[in-house]
């Protein structure tokens, strides 16, 4: 019969159309909210998703995974009396590895000796050029530069971030990337412990 194939196809469309409503009703009967809740959004991007699939940005936002990367930021630890202890030593590796070469670093020199001091005087990242590759964070030996999750950075100007604008506390980093943070802290502690043990052994 001519048209059978079309009808068969339409049955798929029809089913998918109704799925939205059956899902809605089943969520309602279970007393759960399908929209504007984390649970609902997660379900909509799981293997069981049925019916409506879209997430109504900006009212709803997809939950990004930990590894999600947008643009880089610099991490500082909060020292005593709120002093910002910048982790970056201005070693320059990130600016060398950056594929579009959008990181500019001014290294600090000690005014009396002229020798480099391990802290940057200034640090620029041209966010309009940054290709979000994540190399800087991957190859920084001091865990000083990390990739941010905040992607709403559209603006009327060009986005050249300087040191001030790049700095974010380690607390924030721990919040967006808890697993990475814990792993790195553990590694750091282990390293320090090993160092202390070595020093002790040398002293004894």
């Amino acid at each position: 019969m001519y048209g059978k194939g079309i009808l068969k196809g339409l049955s798929v469309t029809w089913k998918r159309f109704w799925d939205t409503y059956t899902e809605d009703i089943s969520w309602m009967l279970r007393g759960k909210k399908r929209y504007n809740t984390e649970e609902g959004i997660r379900h909509r991007s799981s293997k069981d998703t049925k019916g409506i699939f879209t997430v109504q940005y900006p009212e709803e936002q997809l939950i990004v995974p930990e590894e999600f990367r947008y643009v880089p930021f610099l991490v500082y630890d909060e020292g005593a009396d709120g002093k910002k202890e910048i982790r970056c030593t201005s070693c320059g590796i990130c600016s060398k590895v950056c594929p579009p070469q959008c990181i500019w670093i001014v290294r600090t020199n000690d005014p009396s000796t002229g020798r480099p001091v391990p802290v940057p005087t200034n640090f620029y990242v041209d966010m309009d050029i940054c290709m979000n590759c994540g190399f800087c964070a991957e190859y920084c030996p001091f865990d000083a530069i990390k990739m941010d999750h905040d992607f709403d950075i559209a603006s009327y100007d060009r986005n050249v971030y300087n040191l001030d604008k790049l700095l974010k506390p380690a607390k924030y980093y721990a919040e967006i990337r808890p697993e990475n943070y814990t792993r790195e802290e553990e590694a750091r502690k282990a390293k320090e412990a090993a160092k202390a043990a070595k020093a002790e052994a040398a002293a004894a």
């Binding site: 990181i103 670093i105 290709m131």
Partner: protein, 581 residues
């Protein structure tokens, strides 16, 4: 698993004494053919030795040796290792090399590209115009002595970034100053958009003449694009029509050209990886795969066992979503606006969720490294992959088939509309699903296995008719085979490290050349890399499937109706990021 060693299967030197010499440079393989004998030797390579598929034509500028070289990579569609042969000519303009277009018509666009970017004149090529740059452009940008606007240094990293990296905008430093060349009589005020006589003249050549005694009809030239709503990017096609029948056709491309090759040559080996993401932006995982395999060949390193499996998993997931989108977009091209394509996008989103969770980005994954991958797959993502592969994707593929395959309108549009036959497909160096739909079971995962594909049990999808229906159905077959590979990979994947190398931001690559090819969802994606031992590739060339497959578009479409043209073009599954580079 090491990549299979390319063994020399033929001895050209013995067959052509005095015309061919073996390439003795360390790290190089293959033969150097005298320019005068190129056509003769090439004919023998095709007819006597059976290398029917010429996949790549690459120009290389050896500035220091004052030489230009054209490298050819020929393969057999029955499988097995390839043959590399090359010609070397003095680097004095005009640099002339005989064209091989009469032996392998598939070299058409690639020779035009080498002319355009390197200024190698292929004598005997009937239509040697610029292809990626515009007509009237001055210079050949891939030559080693050519410098781009905003040129800073020969190679990255630039010294101005550290230790005294004061930020400056590039345009302030060099606003079109000394390194943008214009033709001598160039006047911006009087600039005519483009001189298109060449294009229309080339159309003329392919326009069939009216038969003697038949009714004389007028032919009209229609320009489709560069903004045709259903294009897969910005492509322009000039067609000559006789009524509704296409009698001449020429694609015009380059609107998205950024000289990816040159960028690659300025980059370090590592820095190229994220740029490859931007080639075929639907399949950044496959692009990464192709590039790192090539460089690993040069570096002669092993890939960590677990990483091999992760790579295969990612590449096959990528293939599945690519084919689903192909099906959806084809429906768009046929006029079924958006319902099927959005169904396809739904599954693609779920696959991209996986990519995002492992690599950090949905499309620009930048996930592969030399020797392995960046990071392991977290457990919850592994679970999600299993859920998709074992449950959801097979069911959704079935649903898609139920949804479309028997639709009478679709069948009427696709069945019996000829795309290519096997002979033409091979002649035009077409690879991938389009070639396999003509009955040639040529899949690099089997024919020239790379990575660990030889460990999996799967069938090469083939269809026999070469019509649109087969081209469409073969995508479903391939999805099924990919799911089969994935099932096995997920079962077999061992624990262990995910990179055989220490993470390092600058790798050492021994001097030499390598040609690495993979079966990307669109066809053969290959990279040709020449290293001279420095931190940056000396020559970096991409052989994209979209670009070479498009060579066949002319012979595919001539004689068919204009209404079918958009669908025929869709069959090639081109993506402009890769085509224009």
């Amino acid at each position: 698993m090491a990549t299979p060693v390319q063994t020399q299967t033929v001895d050209l030197v013995a067959r052509f004494p005095g015309m061919v010499t073996a390439d003795a440079r360390p790290g190089y393989t293959g033969f150097i053919v005298n320019k005068e004998n190129l056509v003769e030797v090439a004919t023998a390579i095709r007819d006597e030795f059976g290398f029917d598929l010429l996949t790549a034509v690459t120009g290389v500028d050896y500035l220091a040796e004052n030489k230009m070289e054209v490298v050819y990579h020929a393969y057999k569609t029955t499988g097995g290792p390839g043959l590399v042969f090359r010609v070397q000519v003095e680097r004095v303009d005009p640099v002339e090399v005989p064209s091989l277009i009469n032996i392998w018509p598939g070299v058409d666009f690639q020779e035009r590209e080498a002319w355009d970017l390197l200024g190698i004149k292929f004598t005997g090529h009937p239509d040697l115009r610029r292809i990626l740059m515009w007509e009237g452009y001055e210079g050949h940008p891939l030559r080693k002595d050519w410098k781009e606007p905003f040129f800073e240094e020969e190679a990255k990293p630039f010294k101005s970034r550290w230790p005294d990296g004061q930020h400056t905008f590039a345009e302030n430093k060099n606003p079109f100053r000394d390194n943008l060349k214009f033709p001598a009589d160039f006047d911006p005020e009087k600039f005519e958009v483009v001189n298109e006589d060449g294009l229309y003249a080339s159309l003329e050549r392919h326009t069939m003449k009216n038969e003697e005694g038949s009714l004389n009809t007028d032919h009209i030239v229609v320009n489709m694009g560069p903004h045709h709503p259903s294009t897969h990017g910005v492509l322009r096609v000039a067609v000559t029509l006789d009524g509704e029948t296409i009698i001449g056709l020429k694609p015009v491309m380059g609107y998205l050209h950024r000289n990816h090759d040159k960028i690659g040559e300025r980059n370090t080996y590592l820095q190229v990886i994220p740029y490859t993401d931007r080639l075929d932006y639907f399949n950044s995982m496959s692009n990464n795969f192709g590039y790192v395999t090539t460089v690993e060949k040069l570096m002669k390193i092993q890939v960590a066992e677990r990483a091999e499996y992760i790579r295969v998993i990612m590449a096959e997931l990528s293939r599945i979503q690519n084919h689903l989108i192909f099906i959806g977009m084809l429906m768009n091209d046929l006029g079924t606006m958006y319902t099927p394509s959005l169904y396809a996008f739904e599954e693609r989103e779920l696959v991209l969720d996986i990519f995002e969770a492992v690599s950090g980005a949905r499309m620009m994954c930048n996930y592969f490294r030399f020797g392995g991958v960046v990071r392991d797959i977290p457990d919850y993502v592994m679970q999600k992959i299993k859920d998709l592969v074992l449950e959801r994707l097979p069911a959704k593929t079935d649903e898609m088939e139920r949804f479309l395959n028997e639709n009478e309108i679709l069948v009427a549009r696709l069945k019996g509309i000829h795309v290519l036959n096997a002979e033409d497909a091979i002649k035009y160096s077409v690879t991938g699903p389009v070639l396999r739909a003509t009955g040639v079971p040529y899949d690099l995962r089997r024919a020239d296995p790379y990575s660990i594909y030889d460990r999996f049990d799967f069938d090469v999808a083939v269809r026999q008719n070469g019509d649109m229906m087969d081209n469409y159905l073969i995508r479903f077959d391939e999805i099924r085979q990919s799911l089969r590979i994935l099932e096995q990979a997920l079962k077999q994947i061992p624990q262990g490290p995910i990179n055989s190398q220490k993470p390092q931001y600058q790798v050492r690559v021994p001097a030499g050349e390598a040609y690495g090819r993979i079966e990307s969802p669109k066809g053969e994606l290959a990279f040709y890399v020449v290293s001279n031992g420095k931190p940056n590739p000396y020559r970096y060339h991409v052989r994209p499937a979209s670009f070479v497959n498009l060579t066949a578009v002319e012979s595919m479409c001539i004689g068919s109706k204009i209404a079918d043209f958009v669908a025929l073009l869709a069959m090639l599954d081109i993506v402009m990021g890769e085509l224009d580079r």
